[in-house]
Structure formats: structure tokens, C-alpha cells
Symmetry: C2
Subunit: 518 residues, 2 copies
């Protein structure tokens, strides 16, 4: 794959960008399907058109070999992949590129990079796949200059323990890389965030990424057996333990720390054999609320479906060709043991809640996953044809569920001014609540996309916080969610986290502005 | 129950202490069964014999109503309930009693107590059921004087959310108190540590207590939806969320904090209906290692038994009348849905691993729980007849399991000098490992019990740490495990925790010496 480069402005590899004629065809067809009418089609930027400010610092000689300052690398590392990131990149706006991109190949080189940053007063921004949708890797920092610390050169499966079903994997391994390494041993992690192809184990752990499993193992948190990170004051490594009660979990403090405490270099994660048994089904409901009632019953009966995605009628019609006006539950069970009995019980509960099981249609999970992983590619095309495409997610307990979804949807629709659509699905479910995931599709106000996005994002986020939800279930906090996160997290916890950071990162170099201010 | 008092020196209520003749009969019979021969039988201490140092401080007038300084209260709050605690208390040695016992009835009074402690430079030691077995509530502090902050006056179930199956419960509620409150609503927490009768929700959360469930919900951690604590710098309260990915979990930082960051006052916990379906079985194995192999297969097949206790031959013979030389697996499944299929699969896996299912014999879970909860009562009797009775637990991944158990058992037996017995059972199991729980029973060296205990404890703990285990799976760290915990936890994490504590407890009043030093 040497030489295969990722698009510096959008999703995927450069060779995956469709020809402009296809962008036009697909994009305009999508606009029509969404009822948005025709629009001018824009072309993506070209690297040679970019006018990046020059790097303000130069890497020391000892690090020169692993540091890059060319426009491609700096542009690629400027943003995550949120809607507003792609819009800015699409328009060629790269205002705060990192000055240097460093690619340590081992912990020793990583330590060298952090030492340099500490001495020179530079921000060090850990970078995995660069797929943040919350401004987690963007160099909006108070320091003069910033180094993007790209972990992709540390991407190996280092050790596999078949007996304990666990593997030690470097933080820079992407989803496909680590699954390839595990497959040689007949094992799999089965953690599939939408960014799976490009995001990394370290990024997942740093941001508490949500994956494949709708229940039990909803976040990467649940797969972590131990973590190792390099902090500016030394290595932070926990023991490999299947469970522990020795003080507050050191792992849980790193998990979700979004690069402010240390750079995760490797982790032991719990893996498993490929599931020998799978069952899937689809169930129609008259309303999202009815479907949610069934999902609640499933979760509270502790049936633990692997897949339990409930699409509201808008989303079901658009993405899964369900009959108009019906909600659709995509249900799956998998395991090394039999799962037929669990599926039978689940369908029973669905029927009792008014659900109508649909006839089986092939590998619905495989089809779902393919569509799921291709969505970010489509978004690049939607942006070219002037469609605002934003997603956000939260979590809420069941007793507030219906009101929460209505309030958030209403506030978001209101911010759109009657144009566009807001749909909702459940991605992860719990005995005590669920994680609603919202998708916004609207005609973009060309040239004013960032203001328009800001209005929508603000309205949605205000509604989420006011109604008691979490500003994020699995997208992370980064810089973009700070305003609302600051109202969500307990003040003494923020004080504790700030002090903890100062203790391990005394110069405040690590991802400044994310989660907390100094 | 007004007027019913707990024994100040041992387990249970005063009216539960058997007559001395019965202590003699039961105790000497136990000695004989253990092969230890006859011994002198000692009498427990009487309150009026105690010679406590006088309190060094007086509560301010505003707190006088909730503060006590009488010998009974101070003696009751001097120790936890470890073997060495009961031995010291039994002998009437109360060297470091708290100066004052405060019983706040609400958060306002609690804040008053903490303010007083901060102003007067007193240690404030949160006290739930006082059942710590790791020196977690003992006033071995650098401050001149100490206040035991007993949370028992805050013991109500405040709110029940049937729709989300969650309840808001005050930290001082004991197991029976909270189960009684939940039962009115047809709900149950089903968290049964061995200290269930006396320990409290707040204590469980502060120490990451292990409970009833052998899989999935092994620790109280897994039931916590949100926590509220009072720190010296304000209230630390998380939102009620079924799941979240917003930064490092604020709850996970309080869970296991053992009173050093704040005093937990209440929590929302996930509850459920009483299980409608239960299955239990017992399976014999030729060896502990064979049984562990079966347990590993069960756990890795993700069957999630509720009960999965594997007793080694020594323990099986002694406590469950299994044939000599065989290990015994006590297996249980429960749920609101059917569990028969899971049990059938589990027995299949056991047979494949060489297990021989025993005929069913009534409610083995109920019998087990009764015996389990009565063990601490028996220990008081064993101490009277000169039996050293100590337990400790750890966790280890499967690939090191057999060697770990052998090493820890061997080191402990060695420290006993060939007298007594060390048995092992598995209490909680995971796909990647298990939690071995060791019981030591040996003839006590009368008058030198503490030295003897120290030798055994040191040998066992050194072996645990050297072999890669955790110094505790669910007993906590407290003051007694500090030496080994300090070698287990990552140094940068300790620095972070120390700084976090200083930020929320700037005067260092909360449970000093536990987990970290200032």
C-alpha cells in the first residue's frame, strides 16, 4: 500500500475519490431523494492551491527523520473529519495547521518528541486516524506552535495470548490492521466504529469510542485489559488484570482522557474467536416510541443482543426501505454458543410490544455494516452538492426517553428553520436507558455553512444538556463540545482532572484546550 | 430495632453473640475438624474493661447533637473487621480510637463536620458499616486527632424509577435496608458481599465491593448509574446516564476512592425485578486446574453464569461435603428470561472438561448464601479458640492462572511453617481470567497473632505482586495493602491521584494514609 495517500480534505484514500461526473450524479440524486432540489456542484480543493502559513519551528536534528513539514502532511493533520472540518478543508481553509507532523516509530522517539515540545513550549497533539468529529486533533491552541504526533508508525499486534483471549496491540493500529493481525490467530476484537477503516486503537481508547456491540461491550472501555501511555513525566502502565478493585481504576482515568494526560502507546485488549453462531432479524413498529418500548424490554430482560438498532420512520424509510411511517428494529445475536433461544425470546418481546417481524433477507448485518462504513464517503459528495450533513449522539435514561428525543429533535429542526430533516436511531442500549443518535440533513447555505452548522449544533447541544443527556455518548468532547461538557461534568471532578493533568504534564503541552483549560 | 447494638469487638449484634459454652463447643469442634487439637478458650472483652485514651477534641456546639465520644461508640469505630482487627479488639487493645464519632443526618450536617475537621486540622474518616478488612477506617493518621464520620443516619431509598429500573439510595443504607426499600417496589439490587448485613452502599462504592454475580456485574462499579459525594470543596455529582463517553468517567474516579476524595452521600444504582428463572447445579472435577479449565470455557463462551464458584478440594471437602480430593463447581444461572438453555450449554462444557454433574439438591444458592453470610460470625468463635482465620483475594489472567495459585498458596503455606491449611476458590470469573480467593486457617500463636498474621500476609502479598496479580480484587487497599498497592499502580497515576486529592481536599483531611500519602 506504499504510496497510497489519504485525501487531505475528506474521507478515504485519494484513489477512492470518485470522478467529478460521478460526484455530480450521486450528489444530485441524493439531493432529489432528500427533496432539496438541484444545486451547483463544487470541486474539491487541490493540494497545490493551498496557501498554508509556514511552519514556525524546526524539529531538532535527532528527530528530523520522523518529522515532516510539507503541505500535504500538515494539511492532512489540520482537522478531524467533522462536517465543519470537511467544509473548511473543501474550501481550502487551513488556518491552524500543525507546524510539524512527527511520526515516532517507538516509545523512545515519542519521548524525544514530547521532550522537544516541553522544552520549546509547543503543543503536542496526539493523532491516531484523525477521524475526530469534535475538534479533538485541531491545533487551536494557546501555544505559539503545535506538533501533530501521528501514531501510525506504531501499528503492530505485538503479542497474542490465546489462553486468556487477549492481545497486546500498538496504539497506532487501525481497525483493519489489528483485525488482520488477530485473524492470523483465529481471533477478532469486533469493535467497529464508523471510522473503523482509519481510526486507531489508541484513538478509540483516548475517546471512549463506541463500537459494534449494542449491549454489554458498548464502548472500547469494556475491552481494555490494561493500557500503557507515555506521559511527559514517565510511563503510565497498568497491570494485565481481568478485574480489579485496587483503588480508582488507572485505566478508566486514561480511557477518555483524549490525549491530555499522555500518549497511549499500546494496550492489552480482550478478543475472542469469530462468533460461530449468528441470528439476525428485522422488526417493524408503528412508531419510534413503540420500538423503544420493545428495546427497553429486551435490555431489561438482559438478553444482550449484539445488534439492536432502532431506526425512526424517517431514517428507516431513507436507509432501509421500510414502509413509510414505520420504525425498524435491526436485531442481531452472535456468540460462540447457540443464540437461537435468545433471538426467539427477543422476538417474543417485540411482538408483545406491537412489533411485526419481517421476513429474513440474507446477511442483514453484513449489508448494514457496509452501508454504515460507507456513510463518511457519501458525506464528501453531499458537501460537494451543498448538503449539510451532521450527526450527534447522546444517552438518556428510559423514563425521560420520549421527551428527550422530542425536545432534541424539535430544537434541531427549529434551528434548521423548517428546511431539511432530523432523524434518529438507537445505536446502543442499556437496561436503564439508550443512546439516541441523530442525523441532520439540510440544504447548506453556501458560504455560510459554518454559521449554519453552529446554529444547529448549538441548538441541539443546548437541548441535550437542558434535557439531562450527555453531550456525547461516544464521539468524545474535544474542543467543540467543551461549552456543554463544562456544564455536564461535576466541578470538583474538573478540578481533580486539571490537577491530575498538571501533575503528569507540568508544561501543559498535551492537547491543550481539550476537556479542560489549565 | 432501637437499642439493638453491634458488638464493638466483632461481627454482628450483641444479642447474636452465643453463650460462652456454645463458643467453646462450636470452636473446639471446629479445631478438631481442622486437625488443630484442643486449646484454651478465651472470653471476649467487656466494654467496662476498656481503657481508651480520652478524646482530644470536642465537637463545636452546632454539631454536638450528632457527635458522640462515649467508649462504646469510639470502640465500635476504632477498627474494621479484619482478622487482626478482631484479634486486637478481642484483647481489648484500642490504641487509636477516633476522638469523636459524628453521625450526620443530611448533607448540610456532613458539610459542617468536614468544615470543622478542616478548621481544626482533624482527620475525617468516612465510616459505612465499618466492615473493612484492609484498615480502611482505622485512625492511624498523622493528624493529632480524628473524627469517624458514620453515614448510618443517611440510609433511605430516596427515589425509585421503575421505568429505567434504577433507584436513588443514600450511602448509609446497609444491604438489608436497601433491599427492603426496593422490595416495596418489586425490585432488587442483588449485590451480596459477605458483609451484606452491615456494609453500606456508600462503602461498597468507595471500595469497589464484589458481590453476588460471578460474571458481568462482578463489582458494585457495574451497577452505578451516578454518584454524589461531598468533598471539602463542594458537591461532586454526575448526571444520571445509562452510558457516556464524555471524558474520563467522573464516577470511576470516585468508585474505589476509599474516602480520600469525598464522602459519598448517595447514588443512583441499576436495579432489576426479582429473577423469574433460576437454575443451579454442582459439578465435580478431579482437580482445581481441571475445574478452572471448565470455568474458562464457560467464561469465554460468554454464558454469564450468575454463580460460578469453583472450590479447590480442600475447601470443597470442608465446606460442601464433596468427596475427598475433588474440586467442586457451584453453578447458577438466573434471569427474567429462560436460563435453561444456558445451563445446558454450561454443563456440556463442564463435561467436555472432565466435569461430573452432581444430582441437584434443593436450593443450593440459598444454602450457599446463608453459609457465606455466617462465616464472619464463625470467625469470632475461631478467634476465641485460637484459630488464625484470614482471607485474601486477587485476580490473574488465565495464562498465568495455575502457576499463580500454586505460587501464592505455596508462599502462604510456607509462612505458616507447615501448620494450618490454605484453600482456594474462584469467586468471580472473566473471559480473560479469574479472581482466586484464598482462605487461611491455622493454629494461632496465642499472644503473637499479629506477628503471625503479618508473616502470612506479607508472604502472600509478596507472592501475589511478584506473580503479576492484583493486591486486591474486591477487598480494597486501605492502609494494610498500601505497601503492595504502591508497587502495583502506575507511578504517574499515583501522582495524578495525589494531585486530584489535593485539589478537592486541600487540607488533606479525608482518610489520610489510605491509597496515597500527601
Amino acid at each position: 500500500m506504499a504510496g497510497r495517500r489519504r485525501k487531505f480534505w475528506g474521507w478515504g484514500f485519494e484513489d477512492q475519490q470518485p470522478p467529478q461526473a460521478e460526484v455530480e450524479r450521486t450528489g444530485l440524486a441524493a439531493r432529489e431523494q432528500l427533496g432539496f432540489g438541484p444545486a451547483e456542484v463544487e470541486r474539491p480543493p487541490r493540494l497545490e492551491e493551498l496557501d498554508l502559513p509556514g511552519p514556525r519551528v524546526e524539529a531538532p536534528a535527532a528527530l528530523a527523520e520522523i518529522c515532516a513539514t510539507d503541505p500535504y502532511e500538515r494539511a492532512l493533520h489540520t482537522y478531524g473529519r467533522a462536517y465543519r472540518d470537511v467544509v473548511r478543508a473543501f474550501r481550502g481553509h487551513f488556518d491552524n495547521p500543525p507546524d510539524v507532523v512527527a511520526r515516532p516509530r517507538d516509545e523512545h522517539e515519542l519521548e524525544g518528541v514530547l521532550e522537544w515540545c516541553a522544552e520549546a513550549g509547543l503543543a503536542a497533539i496526539p493523532f491516531g486516524g484523525g477521524t475526530s468529529v469534535v475538534g479533538g486533533v485541531e491545533a487551536r491552541v494557546s501555544q505559539g506552535a503545535a506538533v501533530s504526533v501521528d501514531m501510525k508508525a506504531m501499528s503492530r499486534v505485538l503479542e497474542v495470548d490465546r489462553e486468556s483471549q487477549a492481545a497486546r496491540i500498538q496504539a497506532g493500529a487501525t481497525g483493519p490492521e489489528l483485525e488482520r493481525g488477530l485473524k492470523e490467530h483465529g481471533l477478532t476484537l469486533r469493535h467497529y466504529p464508523q471510522s473503523f477503516e482509519f481510526s486507531t486503537l489508541g484513538g478509540w481508547i483516548a475517546t471512549r469510542a463506541g463500537g459494534h456491540f449494542a449491549t454489554l461491550h458498548t464502548h472500547i472501555d469494556d475491552f481494555v485489559e490494561s493500557v500503557r501511555a507515555i506521559t511527559p513525566t514517565g510511563a503510565w502502565e497498568s497491570r494485565r488484570l481481568p478485574g480489579s478493585g485496587a483503588g480508582p481504576s488507572p485505566d478508566r482515568m486514561l480511557i477518555g482522557s483524549e490525549g491530555i494526560l499522555g500518549v497511549i502507546t499500546e494496550a492489552w485488549v480482550r478478543v475472542q474467536g469469530a462468533p460461530a453462531h449468528k441470528e439476525s432479524a428485522a422488526v417493524l413498529f408503528d412508531s419510534f416510541s413503540d420500538g423503544a418500548g420493545a428495546v427497553r424490554a429486551l435490555a431489561q430482560t438482559r438478553l444482550f443482543p449484539t445488534n439492536c438498532r432502532l431506526l425512526d420512520p424517517g431514517e428507516a424509510t431513507l436507509t432501509a426501505s421500510a414502509p413509510a411511517g414505520t420504525a425498524l428494529l435491526v436485531l442481531g445475536f452472535e456468540g460462540s454458543g447457540e443464540v437461537g433461544a435468545a433471538m426467539a425470546q427477543a422476538l417474543e418481546l417485540c411482538r408483545a410490544a406491537g412489533g411485526r417481524p419481517r421476513e429474513r433477507r440474507g446477511d442483514s448485518e453484513g449489508a448494514w455494516r457496509e452501508a454504515f462504513l460507507s456513510a463518511p464517503y457519501l458525506r464528501d459528495t453531499l458537501i460537494a452538492v451543498g448538503v449539510l450533513a451532521e450527526t450527534f449522539e447522546s444517552a438518556i435514561t428510559w423514563e425521560r426517553f420520549d421527551g428527550f428525543v422530542d425536545a432534541v429533535r424539535g430544537a434541531t429542526e427549529n434551528a434548521l428553520g423548517g428546511e431539511g430533516r432530523v432523524t434518529c436511531r438507537l445505536t446502543h442500549v442499556y437496561p436503564d436507558g439508550a443512546a439516541p443518535y441523530f442525523t441532520v440533513l439540510a440544504p447548506a447555505r453556501r458560504g455560510e455553512e459554518l454559521d449554519q452548522w453552529e446554529q444547529v449544533k448549538t441548538a441541539a447541544s443546548e437541548a441535550i444538556i437542558a434535557a439531562g443527556g450527555s453531550i456525547t455518548h461516544h464521539h468524545g468532547v474535544g474542543r467543540d463540545h467543551r461549552r456543554w461538557y463544562d456544564r455536564q461534568r461535576p466541578d470538583p471532578f474538573a478540578a481533580a482532572l486539571r490537577a491530575a493533568k498538571a501533575a503528569v504534564d507540568p508544561n501543559g503541552i498535551l492537547n491543550p484546550g481539550v476537556l479542560i483549560d489549565p
